[in-house]
């Protein structure tokens, strides 16, 4: 990306609750126009990161910038749907839109009403009487009608049934294709995201594990298989993410920085979900310094 101003940029960002770091040393840049997935297990710090990005929290360390500015100063440009899509349940759908119109300078009422019309959500219905899927769609509509430049969604599909989940992700995919809005959505479900997202941030144990374009990540990660051996240094391998050995066979999931030509190793492609799981697997035995720099390296590419 030649753009120096990123949609979202974190620099050694950290947030501590008491003595526990919910997020630590988090550095990444999210270029504008991307649909990015923020992936990690529960408790990895995804919500903390998003709350820092929308200004609901202030950092304990480092900084976060939205379009180059502190989050508190760019509220108008940020659309946010919090986890479990909170709404005022006693309000009608119409009153919810009125609230959005009254509280936001950039507000597209036509878009909001058209969208709800398409979804068949009546304006006079109390929010509490909508289905979970409709509530999620209303929350998304509220965020979209703000005409945001960046849309942040915290576990938007976690509480939805499979059908509502599919509909919601379709809506997101459409928004992403238009390319006007940068989207960052967090999830602990990886399978759904591949169809919608083109950028990935993996967060685990309060730290960033990997950041990058999904196509690039898929291209540079390979599975190496050989008869049992110590891996040692392999030409073209930048880092071994996961190692799995049986007495007969050694299997590696690696990040490459060039073609792996060592004939001892059998090279094969690997799915995104497996890559993500390999990175998340790190958190189990603690995060070493090397992993942090791995993430940094990825960022600087």
């Amino acid at each position: 990306m030649t753009d120096t101003i990123h949609a979202l940029e974190a620099e050694t960002l950290g947030r501590r609750y008491g003595r526990t770091w919910a997020l630590r040393d988090c550095s990444f840049q999210l270029p504008a126009g991307r649909v990015a997935a923020l992936v990690g297990p529960n408790g990895a710090g995804k919500t903390t990161l998003l709350h820092l990005a929308v200004g609901l929290l202030t950092p304990t360390a480092g900084s976060v910038r939205v379009f180059g500015a502190p989050p508190q100063t760019v509220r108008q440009r940020v659309g946010f749907v919090a986890q479990d899509h909170p709404l005022y349940r006693s309000f009608t759908v119409g009153e919810t839109l009125t609230m959005g119109r009254k509280l936001n300078r950039r507000w597209d009422d036509t878009l909001a009403k058209a969208r709800l019309g398409q979804l068949g959500v009546p304006l006079d219905r109390p929010v509490g009487k909508l289905s979970g899927g409709q509530q999620a769609q209303l929350a998304l509509t509220l965020a979209l009608a703000k005409q945001p430049d960046i849309l942040l969604l915290d576990e938007p599909v976690a509480s939805l049934d499979p059908l509502a989940r599919r509909d919601f992700l379709r809506a997101l995919a459409e928004i992403g294709e238009e390319g006007r809005v940068t989207v960052l959505l967090s999830s602990h479900i990886i399978a759904d995201l591949e169809r919608v997202c083109d950028y990935l941030i993996i967060l685990s144990a309060a730290r960033v594990q990997l950041v990058g374009e999904i196509s690039e990540i898929a291209r540079t990660h390979k599975r190496l298989t050989a008869s049992h051996r110590e891996p040692g240094a392999i030409a073209g391998v930048a880092a071994i993410i996961e190692e799995y050995a049986t007495p007969r066979q050694t299997q590696l999931l690696v990040r490459t920085d060039g073609p792996v030509t060592d004939s001892a190793w059998d090279v094969s492609d690997v799915g995104l979900e497996e890559i993500v799981l390999a990175y998340l697997g790190h958190s189990g035995d603690g995060i070493s310094e090397g992993d942090a720099t791995l993430a940094q390296m990825e960022v600087s590419q």
Partner: protein
């Protein structure tokens, strides 16, 4: 934001308006009754002319008829606590309970501004209602009870001047701060009520009597029956304590006085008083005089407003720094 404030608090605001309307109607009806009775019984006349025969009976008749009204009005001291519970406590707590603070604080305005506008709007509404109630009650007292009891008696004092406003401001601030810190509506409502009482009761029974040292008025019991009685400095004051002094100025227990001068069978009130007089014993009254109304109102309101400002500052800081 004003729209949102109205939409979220309209039930409480409408309830408050209804309470004011119903009480207002009651005050107008009963206020006229009392004013008429005051005229018809000739209470004003008898108070103005101390030599008036059976003034005690006339005043007694009025008190018997309407004392329950003024006594019942003391319960209205709790009204500010309800404002704190129903408007103050849920203000922040309900948002936190339902997670809707993450909705409303990520719209176009900051949590600080959200709180500032809500506070301004809700204080404006509740203060207006309190001013209206205070005006109504001041009128209600003015046609009769102020002549009988003055303004310092808690039944009057608590509903006149500026302290009712100060209690409203304090109760609301307490509810808001409790809601912000406790993050849950029901416990915040409990704290709003308990905290209000914890300030309200000691204020009247411990602090207010001591805002300035009370005065003591002593009189020979026989002069109580003389025509000049109503002209004593006690008139319109707040009586704190009454008792007896011996000729050396020491307190005497009521039991000592009455055992010594027991009104025996056939003995009249006059015999009793004569006996007390013959012993050289004097009746004393400690009291806060009528002209301390405004100094006391100012002190009390000052304490409450200072508490309210502290609580609001805490709530605002907590919302902006700790929650948002």
């Amino acid at each position: 934001m004003i729209w949102l404030t109205w939409r979220q608090h309209r039930a409480a605001i409408i309830a408050m308006a209804l309470v004011v309307a119903v009480l207002g109607a009651l005050f107008i009806v009963t206020g006229r009754q009392m004013a008429d009775a005051y005229q018809q019984l000739g209470v004003g006349d008898c108070l103005a002319h101390p030599s008036h025969p059976n003034c005690g009976d006339i005043v007694g008749a009025f008190r018997d008829q309407y004392g329950t009204y003024i006594g019942a009005s003391a319960w209205l001291n709790l009204l500010p606590a309800f404002l704190g519970m129903l408007i103050g406590a849920p203000l922040v707590a309900r948002e936190l309970e339902h997670g809707t603070h993450r909705l409303v604080w990520t719209q176009g305005i900051s949590a600080g501004r959200w709180l500032a506008i809500k506070l301004a709007a809700l204080f404006a509404v509740t203060i207006s209602a309190t001013i209206l109630m205070t005006a109504l009650m001041s009128w209600w007292h003015s046609t009769s009870w102020n002549q009988l009891n003055g303004h310092m008696n808690p039944l009057m004092y608590d509903f006149e001047g500026i302290t009712p406003l100060a209690y409203t401001v304090f109760a609301l601030a307490l509810g808001i701060a409790a809601g912000a810190l406790l993050r849950r509506t029901i416990p915040a409502m409990v704290v709003a009520l308990a905290g209000f009482l914890a300030v309200r009761l000691p204020m009247e029974f411990l602090l207010r009597p001591r805002f300035q040292p009370p005065l003591t008025y002593t009189q020979d019991i026989l002069t109580v029956l003389s025509p000049t009685t109503t002209q004593t400095p006690l008139r319109g004051g707040w009586t704190l304590d009454q008792g007896w002094l011996d000729s050396a100025g020491h307190h005497l227990a009521d039991s000592t006085v009455f055992q010594t001068c027991d009104a025996r069978v056939g003995g009249t009130k006059m015999d009793l008083f004569q006996c007390i007089h013959n012993h050289g014993w004097l009746a004393f009254t400690t009291y806060q005089p009528a002209d301390r109304f405004w100094p006391f109102q100012s002190i009390e309101a000052g304490i409450l407003v200072a508490l309210a400002v502290g609580l609001l500052a805490l709530a605002i800081w907590w919302v902006r720094r700790r929650i948002a």
